[in-house]
Symmetry: C2
Subunit: 274 residues, 2 copies
């Protein structure tokens, strides 16, 4: 496919436009050029974007694809006017209007997930969750584990840290994480500070060959990274999780989004922020 | 509005369905109950979800709203069949099919952003960015600042840490962050380790009253949290950023998504992952 440009146009951050647009574009082999135009909240700014789209259309000889999340009708009309040479995918008109009919109320045309974060309890809890997850990364602290929503366990470099931070950032989940280390395997028990919270524990495991590869990047040639050692640690960790009745999954081929979704589905924490 | 249930049905994690659905729902005053049904990748599983939707429709006397991202046509047909009593918002059919026509190619019906993370260079870079941002949180390390994409500066509790982690996680940006502390104000200069990288620095400031409130939650009654001290630090930090020619914004009313988007727009780092 020839060069093609995709615009993400939004009156807010454009994150919704981009997430959705990318999931649509992932269905195609093309690797189009991305242009983001956030904070387009006036007719003038929209007209400027239309000029830009038309220049690109002219230069590339192909209609740019435009993913738009514009709440204000006049701003939106500017973008979807015939003068615009892009193929506009208007997410709000397509879905908001049928919902107005279904709900029997007009939409309130609010932009973004948080109108003013300083007044949002939900937002405050999300920031607190990030701070909690940071303070409880890699077994740094056993304090306040009683208020953790989930405690991830697994061998070093199995994906616990990014998953914990993602759970906190995206879902406001207080996620602690604890490494399982050779000492634990010798003792044959999970770290004693976790014992009262087994119900909240979730395990991550990983294919030993992949683990060795990741560890070699960090500490090339070390015993820590040796395949034989990785095999041993993973085997011991899996045996321990099985013995303790801790649910677990393999992170080998999964993104942090997929891991997090599975954990949420299985653990169903009470305080889940949507 | 009476109780209403919203389903997010996806063959992957459902993150796209949820992000998009929530941005649509945010336009309405309702607070519907959320039900997630990820990993619906077979006709049987879809039929089970339809049964659930119909039970809810019966119980609540209102059509459930269903946001769906289902790539497989047969699975999708099961959900959108007449037997389903939900109002189905089918994001793929609505937008993927017009694009097939525009591109002149069939979509490859791939699910999710990452098909196999262990083979994805983009995913690896994202995890590296998270590790970098963690290692360079709160001025912990001056090593490798040359490879940072952005360095956030600002007084303690101005929002640097969550913003750095978000930039790393969402955009694969290596974001370091450095606190501006009273020592820096006395010396009248940014930390010396940052001097060579001023071009990559971006400042966060915050309303002193809000800062005092946040700090009081951490250390109630401390001098650190006193309004007078917060006023002083913020004034000094803003003066310093102005003097050093560092672009900055106020995080007071902004979510980390909004802050991150503004930074990306202004700094335009080279290695931006989409």
């Amino acid at each position: 496919m020839p060069q093609r440009t995709v615009f993400f146009v939004s009156d807010g951050t454009g994150i919704t436009a981009e997430t959705f647009g990318n999931s649509i574009l992932a269905q195609f082999p093309a690797k189009p050029r991305h242009v983001r135009r956030p904070f387009i909240d006036s007719i003038d700014k929209a007209a400027e974007v239309v000029r830009e789209i038309n220049e690109v259309a002219e230069r590339e000889g192909k209609r740019p694809i435009v993913f738009a999340t514009l709440v204000n009708t006049e701003v939106r009309d500017t973008l979807t006017a015939e003068a615009c040479k892009g193929l506009v995918m208007d997410m709000f008109r397509t879905f908001v209007e049928p919902l107005e009919e279904e709900f029997g109320v007009k939409s309130n045309h609010r932009v973004g997930r948080f109108s003013d974060v300083s007044k949002s309890q939900e937002y405050t809890e999300r920031i607190e969750a990030i701070n909690f997850s940071l303070a409880h990364d890699d077994g740094q602290s056993s304090r306040n584990l009683d208020i953790a929503d989930v405690i991830l366990v697994g061998v070093s470099r199995s994906g616990k840290t990014p998953t914990s931070l993602y759970l906190a950032m995206q879902h406001g989940i207080k996620a602690a994480n604890y490494p399982l280390i050779p000492d634990d395997f010798e003792r044959g028990q999970i770290p004693s500070s976790l014992a009262p919270y087994k119900r909240k524990c979730f395990g991550l495991t990983i294919d030993p060959a992949r683990l060795a590869q990741i560890r070699h990047e960090r500490r090339p040639g070390s015993r820590y990274a040796a395949l034989e050692n990785c095999r041993h640690e993973v085997r011991e960790a899996e045996a321990m999780m099985r013995r303790e009745g801790i649910a677990w999954l393999s992170s080998t081929h999964k993104s942090i989004e997929e891991i997090a979704t599975t954990i949420l589905r299985d653990i169903q924490p009470d305080r889940l922020i949507y």
